[in-house]
């Protein structure tokens, strides 16, 4: 059991989807796509710092992603022009990370893995990290679900119901940083946001309630992971991009199907 690298890869993809499905739904509802990008790109800087300081890579990415997510979230709350600010932060984080990582001896070889993931090389320990992080994020979202949804709908409404919208935003920020840290190994820094947004967007046209959308996004994410791995195996394509391509295919099918149903 778990000796087969393909089985470990499949399990890692499915486990990650447990978190990216519901969190991705919030990213879509709250229009945080660029926010996800900025946080994910910061992970590369985290990798560089962790390697330089001889710390575990997971710890470095989690810390830097968390700092970036908090920074973005604070700027947003202060009313900065978010489209521009996020554009600056997302690309600056990526560029800084790439520059920083070039100073770390030996890391150049692995750069591809950090940018696009290396799901076929997932170890048992990695698998534990992915599942642990994903289940933690899922538990957090389920626990705060009603409050998160109300705050997403309207902050005044949430406030008048005795909720604190700032706290709910912080919870999503935390969840996002955690997902970035665990997803880095699976799809890489450049495609984490895609794994959040595409399955959720594919689920939108098929859903009538927020809950269905979150569950469908999880299923689509899991299906895309397994499908992408198959594709990678059959045609010897890179695994991370293949997973995202499979998710994009699901989105296209859902868009066509949704249109046919409405017609």
């Amino acid at each position: 059991m778990l000796d087969d690298f393909l089985l470990r890869a499949g399990l890692a993809g499915v486990g990650l989807s447990l978190a990216t499905g519901p969190l991705g739904a919030f990213v879509v509802w709250r229009r945080m796509a660029y926010f996800g990008d900025a946080t994910a790109h910061a992970a590369i800087l985290g990798v560089a710092l962790a390697l330089a300081a001889d710390l575990p890579v997971g710890f470095g990415t989690l810390a830097v992603a968390l700092v970036m997510a908090l920074l973005v979230s604070t700027l947003a709350a202060r009313g900065w022009a978010m489209d521009t600010t996020l554009g600056v932060l997302a690309h600056a984080a990526l560029a800084l990370g790439l520059v920083a990582i070039s100073f770390v001896p030996g890391a150049r070889v692995d750069l591809q893995a950090y940018l696009f993931g290396d799901i076929l090389a997932v170890s048992r320990a990695d698998l534990g990290f992915v599942w642990g992080g994903a289940v933690a994020v899922l538990a957090l979202l389920v626990w705060r679900w009603q409050a998160l949804l109300t705050a997403t709908l309207n902050t005044d409404l949430a406030h008048a119901s005795g909720l604190n919208p700032d706290r709910e935003r912080l919870i999503l920020t935390l969840a996002l940083a955690l997902v970035v840290a665990v997803a880095l190994k699976v799809v890489g820094a450049l495609l984490i946001a895609a794994l959040l947004i595409i399955p959720a967007a594919a689920a939108r046209g098929l859903s009538r309630t927020p809950e269905t959308m979150a569950v469908l996004a999880t299923l689509i994410g899991a299906g895309a992971s397994l499908g992408g791995l198959q594709m990678s195996l059959a045609w010897d394509t890179p695994a991370g991009p293949s997973i995202i391509a499979a998710a994009a295919l699901a989105f296209a099918l859902s868009a066509v199907f949704g249109k046919m149903r409405r017609a």
Binding site: V28, W29, R30, R31, Q146, A147, L149, T150, T152, L153, N154, D156, L157, A158, H159, A160, S161, L163, A201, R204, S207, R208, T209, P210, T212, M213
Partner: protein, 273 residues
């Protein structure tokens, strides 16, 4: 014992004092309407009373255990968020189907439970918002321009519904409007706001008060007729504030306004002082 009271409330938004020394209280079962020109701080006052905005000075007091039902000014639902009316009623507190259905029926929209919120008409949407607020079994309903975007008959029907709800549940109602005619006729008490409380009292008293006339002009006798819509007051709305959005100022700004213009001048002296 009042349900909710503000004592010498001042609210500052990004360095500007939007509300100055506002004191008011809401008694059980009464309908109070806040009127005022655009930018007069109406929504700010509601948000301060709800505890969303902190007071710079003064205080808001609530009766212990007060339950508030809130209908926000505008609820923009992102099109990416699938949300049926039924699901919306269960935010943030989950409600049993029977209760939700009863609330929808009470608000005159018994058949929308399965429909998407984004697919509802303006009138249906506002009624679903009201139904959600009623599910909290409120002692006090707070509504921020609840009829924005409704046509005249829709507006009148909505205010009749509010009045029925008040009769059935005994809830007090505090609402904000910049529409004077329909809303004032539906109120027990009107508070005229322009950064501070200019005047308050029954609709008849307020519509005859010089401070009110200074803000809204003379054509306010129609305020007491439920369906009558009278444009004659429009041309006086936009003194140094933002324009009023009725969209037909031109062509009304002639003739009979001279006394009111003088009154307006007086009022502005008052504000400065």
């Amino acid at each position: 014992m009042s349900l909710l009271a503000a004592r010498h409330l001042c609210v500052t938004l990004s360095g500007r004092e939007v509300l100055h020394d506002v004191s008011l209280s809401i008694a059980p079962g009464e309908i109070v309407t806040i009127v005022g020109p655009n930018g007069s701080g109406k929504s700010t006052l509601l948000r301060a009373l709800l505890g969303i905005l902190p007071p710079a000075k003064g205080a808001v007091q609530r009766k212990a255990g007060l339950r508030i039902g809130y209908v926000p000014q505008r609820l923009q639902i992102d099109p990416t968020l699938p949300l049926t009316a039924r699901r919306f009623l269960s935010l943030p507190v989950r409600r049993p189907d029977a209760e939700a259905q009863a609330a929808l029926a009470r608000c005159g929209v018994p058949d929308v439970a399965g429909q998407q919120m984004t697919g509802l008409s303006g009138g249906q949407f506002q009624r679903v918002l009201l139904a959600r607020a009623l599910l909290n079994a409120p002692d006090l309903l707070i509504l921020d321009e609840p009829t924005q975007g409704l046509d005249q008959p829709g507006e009148a029907a909505f205010y009749r519904l509010i009045d029925e709800v008040r009769r059935d549940t005994g809830a007090a109602v505090l609402m904000v409007s910049h529409d004077l005619h329909v809303v004032m006729s539906a109120s027990d008490r009107v508070i005229c706001l322009n950064g501070h409380i200019c005047c308050e009292g029954t609709p008849r008293v307020v519509s005859n008060a010089p401070e009110y006339r200074a803000l809204f002009g003379l054509g306010t006798q129609g305020a007491l007729a439920l369906y009558q819509h009278d444009h004659d007051h429009d041309h006086l709305h936009d003194h140094d504030h933002q324009h009023h959005d009725h969209g037909h100022h031109d062509g009304h700004g002639h003739g009979p306004a001279t006394p009111a213009r003088q009154a307006r001048g007086t009022a502005e002296h008052d504000h400065a002082g």
